[in-house]
């Protein structure tokens, strides 16, 4: 069943379940409730009407109803563990509602698809979902534990399968189980959670079970008002709004919150309908009988009291005062980021804002860019400390129940961050042919003593260095002592002499040639001679070091094309000559980005080159690109040991299963992530660029919120390089901009591509005087700096600032003799921005904007 569920479950259902699970683990956030809920709460029934999003439309309603009914049982069973905390804290009404919702959710999605009935009916969808999760939990707990990630997958998918299962309770439970894996995991983790939270502990279990049972009852009893009241009581008992709240979503997306609300509405209606039908059909007693927990009694009395509140769909409880009531003027607000619910008065929100409302935590987080609960906790005022602690605790409970979770996470972060920051090699993907070829060549040199030369050609970032280094690494595993590696870089060794010395040094170091030998070869010719001696077979030069040349040498020449620019290409000539003439077993591997590099070789050099090439290409398709990028986000099974991850640590498999599931989920389900990936694929295909964007999100993960979110929210700091110089325009003052525009205008007006300060200032002041005349004639008194004409001195400073920022580039002939002297006025400059670029890059005031437009 589990697989079915995962695939089939409607996205909404998946989400809700996830939420419910999360809620079960007492989350601080109190779950979903967002604005939408607030609105809902006021008119209780109205919500049904609001549901809208097309889900109701389709498929089999009956099945849904059935399924919903069945589900509760299973969920109830499952949930008991997580709930205890919430139940103890909060009134039962909300919980009961939630439970009903929980049931409905999986069902509701299906319902929506299948039947109109579903759409119309009851409000308390959230509760339903919670119920489901609760019910399902006990039965399926074991299963759930196994597969935490499945839920995520579900989210994205179309609803429907769960409902069909409905008639058979057990089956449904199974189905739910995979979906609710988290819940189950939570159950398992209960103990751990209990340890963490002093609250949870012993009493919790019993409470939770009770609450679950009550929830089961509720759906059946719904039609009669008394029943409903019972429901309400139950809800309260269960407390945690959390059922509905999408814990995971919090971590993953800002946006989903709204959707949840919508879904909730629909679901509610669905659930109501279902509950009506089903509950009629199914006697309350049955359910009660099944779940014999003692709490039922308690629920009933409470329910009466709460009848009024029942109508309100939301079971959310204020985080501060733990009361669920939401009245006009003191409504419950839900944070649009973390779903924390608070009363207006409790949280000090005078007016309900129009747009999104974020709790203080989330606001801070947004500001800080990095999500770290700890920081916020520190900075926060004492009044909210409790809340936070509670929140943290809830979050922790939502986490997958994996032993040593924090340790696993930290280790994973270490490895992944090292990879993303480029300090650990990532494996080559899809370059097998190139790898084989290179490997073969190097091995031939080492094993058979051949001289070889080869060029590795490919764009930047396609893995040339990675290729060569991994070849060398692999080869060295077999032939450790049999070869030396000399690495040269065209940027660093800028002429042959330096390169030779470097070769000599590296070889001397590796071969342990005496220092005085290295030191005494002070001039180029000597160095060359000794090097040749060193490299040549002993038979050719008798006096040189015997035995030394029996080792082969691999020359790795980075930026090979730059070596071709050295005078007479002496070094290349000699290296290739040695390789070709088999004087010594050396392999010359050149790395370059230039495909025409051979053309730049001299004839004599070219003729000694073996003309072996390896071409590397950037990933050709998005999946291929993702294959490479994925290594920055997850670690393959076989690499664990190599990366130094302790596989023996308890929970290792669970953790990586969970983690890889999440990463896959990002790629498969998260549209934002996919867009992000695609944008890099489309623009640069640069793996390292993409991985760099992952650094900060990865570094921001905490054991309490280990949910990767890429790309980071827009408020966070970006590590992308600037597109152009235009980003600097924002930091310019009005005068700077005026001069820049004046100069840019001259480009067009006077048809000159160079300007000096005198010209620009002249244009500026004439524009200004025109502007003044206009404003004067139109009778407008211009206030402030708008038409203020700045003097030549200040303008000169502004001009110099433009120069310093590189927006003005000295035109070729500044006149050397006069360079430092005169002349700010007459020195000619070229403008690095065009007139039409300016308004696009920065927000101009009206006057400046007109100058850009009217020529």
């Amino acid at each position: 069943m589990a697989p079915h569920n995962t695939t089939a479950a409607a996205p909404t259902a998946g989400k809700k379940r996830a939420r419910s699970q999360q809620e079960d683990e007492p989350d601080l956030s109190l779950t979903i409730a967002k604005k939408a809920r607030v609105s809902k709460e006021i008119p209780t029934n109205a919500t049904n009407g609001t549901k809208p999003r097309g889900r109701r439309v389709t498929s089999a309603p009956a099945a849904k109803a059935n399924s919903s009914v069945v589900i509760p049982n299973s969920e109830e069973e499952r949930h008991p563990h997580p709930r205890p905390l919430t139940a103890a804290k909060k009134p039962r009404q909300p919980s009961g509602k939630k439970k009903t919702n929980v049931y409905d959710f999986p069902a509701s999605d299906e319902d929506e698809l299948g039947s109109a009935e579903v759409t119309t009916s009851a409000p308390a969808t959230k509760r339903k979902t919670s119920v489901k999760s609760a019910t399902s939990a006990p039965h399926s707990g074991k299963k759930n534990l196994k597969e935490p990630p499945v839920e995520k997958k579900r989210r994205g998918r179309p609803p429907g399968k769960q409902l069909t299962a409905a008639p058979v309770p057990d089956e449904q439970e199974d189905d739910d189980v995979p979906a609710t894996k988290k819940c189950s995991a939570i159950k398992n983790s209960k103990k751990a959670a209990a340890l963490q939270n002093g609250n949870a502990e012993s009493g919790a279990d019993s409470d939770t079970t009770n609450t679950t049972t009550t929830s089961l009852v509720v759906p059946k009893t719904r039609k009669p008002k008394a029943v409903t009241s019972l429901r309400g009581a139950e809800v309260q008992a269960q407390v945690p709004r959390g059922i509905l709240t999408p814990r995971k979503e919090k971590g993953m997306d800002w946006k989903r919150g709204k959707k949840n609300v919508v879904f909730a509405a629909k679901e509610k209606s669905d659930s109501e309908e279902e509950s009506e039908e089903k509950r009629e059909t199914i006697p309350v007693k049955k359910t009660r009988g099944k779940h014999r927990l003692g709490l039922e009694n308690e629920a009933a009395p409470e329910a009466e009291d709460e009848e009024e509140s029942e109508e309100k769909e939301d079971d959310e409880v204020c985080t501060v005062c733990s009361k669920p009531d939401s009245k006009k003027g003191n409504q419950i607000l839900f944070c649009d980021s973390c779903d924390m619910a608070v009363h207006q008065k409790c949280y000090g929100v005078a007016r309900i804002p129009r747009g999104d409302w974020f709790c203080k935590d989330c606001t801070e987080k947004k500001m800080a860019g990095l999500l770290s609960v700890d920081e916020t906790a520190k900075t926060r005022g004492a009044s909210f400390q409790e809340k936070k602690a509670a929140v943290v605790a809830q979050v922790a409970e939502e986490l997958p129940d994996i032993p040593n979770f924090e340790q696993h996470l930290r280790m994973a972060q270490r490895v992944l961050l090292d990879r993303c920051a480029g300090r650990r090699r990532i494996k080559l993907q899809g370059q097998n042919e190139a790898y084989e070829k290179t490997c073969q060549l190097v091995e031939q040199t080492i094993v058979a003593g051949e001289g070889n030369s080869m060029l590795v050609i490919g764009a930047r970032g396609c893995g040339k260095t990675t290729l060569v280094e991994s070849v060398i690494y692999d080869v060295s595993e077999q032939h450790k002592e049999e070869f030396h590696v000399v690495r040269l870089n065209g940027f660093i060794h800028t002429d042959d002499k330096l390169a030779l010395r470097e070769i000599w040094r590296q070889l001397g170091k590796e071969m342990a040639v005496e220092d005085d030998l290295v030191n005494k070869t002070s001039n180029y010719a000597d160095t060359m001679a000794s090097l040749l001696a060193l490299l040549s077979h002993p038979s050719e030069i008798a006096e040189s070091f015997d035995g030394v040349t029996s080792k082969s040498i691999v020359f790795v020449i980075d930026e090979f094309d730059l070596f071709a620019t050295h005078a007479r290409q002496t070094l290349l000539y000699n290296l290739f000559d040695i390789a070709q003439a088999r004087k010594a077993p050396i392999a010359v591997v050149g790395l370059t980005t230039r495909i025409d590099v051979v053309e730049s070789l001299e004839k004599r050099v070219k003729s000694r080159f073996s003309h072996r090439y390896v071409y590397l290409s950037l990933p050709k398709s998005l999946p291929a690109f993702w294959d490479v990028c994925k290594q920055g986000l997850s670690v393959d099974e076989e690499d664990m040991e190599a990366e130094g991850i302790d596989e023996a640590l308890e929970g290792h498999k669970d953790f990586w299963k969970w983690w890889n599931g999440r990463v896959e989920g990002l790629y498969n389900k998260d549209q934002r992530f996919k867009d992000h990936l695609e944008s890099y694929f489309a623009s640069t295909k640069s793996v390292s660029a993409f991985l760099t964007t992952c650094v900060l999100p990865l570094a921001g993960l905490l054991p309490t919120s280990p949910f990767l979110r890429i790309p980071a929210p827009t408020t966070a700091v970006s590590l992308d390089p600037p597109d152009s110089k235009l980003h600097m325009l924002e930091s310019l003052s009005d005068l700077d901009l005026s001069l820049l525009i004046a100069a840019a205008r001259l480009d067009i007006i006077a048809h000159t591509d160079t300007v000096n300060f005198a010209m620009a200032y002249d244009e500026y002041s004439s524009l200004m005087s025109k502007q003044r005349i206009q404003t004067a004639s139109s009778g407008l008194l211009v206030i402030g700096g708008g038409t203020r004409v700045w003097g030549r001195g200040i303008a000169g400073m502004a001009w110099e600032r433009l120069v310093a920022l590189g927006l003005l580039i000295p035109a070729a002939s500044g006149g050397r003799g006069t360079a430092g002297l005169s002349c700010l006025d007459s020195k000619m400059w070229r403008l690095d921005v065009a007139l039409e670029e300016i308004p696009a890059a920065v927000k101009l005031n009206a006057v400046l904007a007109r100058w850009c437009k009217e020529i």
């Binding site: 660093i492 001259l746 006069t818």
Partner: protein, 478 residues
């Protein structure tokens, strides 16, 4: 391989630094993550932003607080290094100092050698696990005499030495200037107005007598906002200039309060009273306003008009004017302008466009619908032959200086006459003052064939001309 565990940098330190540098918390956090050895240290990092945005200060403060067994750092300021070689040697010396390394090599001539030296200190020496060295190149984009491979080469250092992190602090990085795959770039944007205000109000001035500190702070906040709008946003948008302007203006601004004519609450009235000061340009131009000491000898190339006019002797003034005319008039018009064959002076076709009235006749005129022609004087000075300048001088001096007329009629421009005795002396003086510049070195000052160029601007010359009663405009061919 021992597994090091990921850790975020210490919260307390970050908070301290964030307090020290307000409004920069995201950058500080990102920087801390990217530099801390136990977080996510990167190989290369580019920190960029315009001036006075806290790039260097924050980087330095953060590194100083992270410094310890696992992290050492040094900052090399390119502006202090005259040549690339100087830079290399500074780097080696600083790194050695930071690592308490004894054997500092005497020379370091190339990147190659730099690499070797750094490798010795960082790569071949045993360091604790997870050790990182952060090498900060401050203002590397302004390095003088830098070979074009300097930046890519420095970016390769961290490839060769795994435990090295290089940070480049630059103003505006050209795309892919490191020629490497990808480097994280951290942007320090300019402060916005609210940020300016909040930063400056962190250090309010001492309370005004007879007001409460709170009132003073409120007033100061609004005052800063007003200064920002009137001066900073419109002309000089940097934190130092704003804070300097505020410091200068504040005493003047609160004058009415100390005089008890107004209270601290009447902000708008105070602004009206201080409006004159708000419009004072000299606030932003410290060289002119804050150091008003009169220089006896104008050393700068652009001395104030009044200075030149009063300081130069008359002959030198005339010579300078003649030089200006020689620089700005085409040679072919000389005959028409300066010929004295026909009695009196020929009417010069003073080529001023229709808008002569506007501040000295600047502003181009339009040639039909075509591109506007740029006033010649705006294009700067052209070189002239010394002989021509002397000819012009001789031609116009009778007109400019009637007093000399008689003497000239007597004979050549000669030694003993008061105005003539020192022509070459004046030229030499002007040259030493850099008001006249010899083009293309070599040659004697007296070489009549030598080429010169005038190094003073139009404004100066106009003032100078007026000081001797000459309207230079009349002598210019436009």
């Amino acid at each position: 391989m021992a597994v090091s565990i990921f850790e975020l940098p210490d919260e307390l330190r970050l908070t301290l630094i964030a307090k020290e540098f307000p409004c920069r918390e995201p950058q500080i956090r990102a920087l801390a993550t990217l530099l801390n050895p136990s977080a996510a240290p990167c190989q290369n990092l580019v920190v960029y932003g315009t001036e006075a945005t806290g790039k260097t200060a924050i980087t330095a403060a953060l590194l100083a607080s992270l410094d310890g067994d696992l992290l050492r750092h040094t900052i090399v300021n390119s502006i202090e290094c005259i040549t690339a070689r100087h830079l290399y040697e500074t780097v080696v010396a600083r790194v050695a100092a930071a690592l308490e390394w004894d054997a500092v090599p005497p020379r370091c001539e190339s990147v190659s050698q730099l690499t070797v030296e750094l490798s010795k200190m960082l790569k071949y020496t045993e360091r604790p696990e997870g050790f990182r060295f952060v090498l900060v190149f401050d203002g590397i984009d302004h390095q003088r005499e830098a070979p074009h491979t300097l930046l890519p080469a420095l970016a390769r250092l961290s490839e060769i030495i795994p435990s090295l992190t290089t940070v480049f602090v630059v103003t505006s990085p050209p795309p892919n200037n490191l020629l490497t795959t990808f480097v994280p770039h951290l942007h320090f944007p300019t402060y916005t107005k609210p940020e300016f205000i909040s930063i400056l109000s962190l250090s309010p001035p001492p309370p005004i007598p007879n007001t409460t500190p709170q009132e003073t702070l409120d007033l100061y906040t609004r005052f800063v906002a007003a200064v920002h709008d009137s001066l900073s946003r419109s002309a000089s948008r940097t934190l130092p200039s704003l804070s300097q302007a505020c410091q200068t203006l504040w005493p003047k601004f609160i004058l009415p309060i100390t005089a008890r004519t107004h209270t601290a609450k009447e902000f708008s009235k105070l602004v009206v009273l201080a409006r004159v000061h708000f419009q004072d340009e000299s606030l932003l131009d410290p060289t002119l306003s804050l150091a008003p000491s009169v220089t006896t000898i104008p050393l700068s190339t652009k001395p104030k008009t009044t200075d030149l006019a009063t300081l130069l002797p008359t002959t030198a003034r005339f010579l300078l004017l003649a030089a200006y005319l020689a620089s700005h008039n085409p040679t072919k018009t000389d005959l028409a302008l300066f010929s004295t064959f026909h009695h009196g002076r020929k009417r010069r076709r003073g080529g001023f466009s229709g808008i002569t009235g506007v501040s000295g006749g600047r502003g181009g005129r339009k040639n039909g619908n075509q591109h506007r022609k740029i006033a010649r004087k705006l294009l700067g000075a052209h070189a002239f032959v010394l002989e021509r300048m002397l000819a012009i001088f001789t031609a116009v001096r009778t007109e400019w200086d009637p007093a000399s007329q008689g003497k000239i009629r007597d004979g050549m421009v000669g030694g003993e006459q008061e105005m003539d005795n020192d022509i070459y002396m004046s030229i030499a003086t002007l040259a030493s003052l850099r008001l006249l510049v010899k083009v293309g070195g070599g040659g004697d000052v007296c070489d009549l064939g030598g080429k010169w160029r005038v190094a003073v601007g139009w404004e100066v010359v106009r003032g100078l001309g007026r000081s001797v009663g000459v309207e230079v405009e009349e002598w210019l061919v436009e």
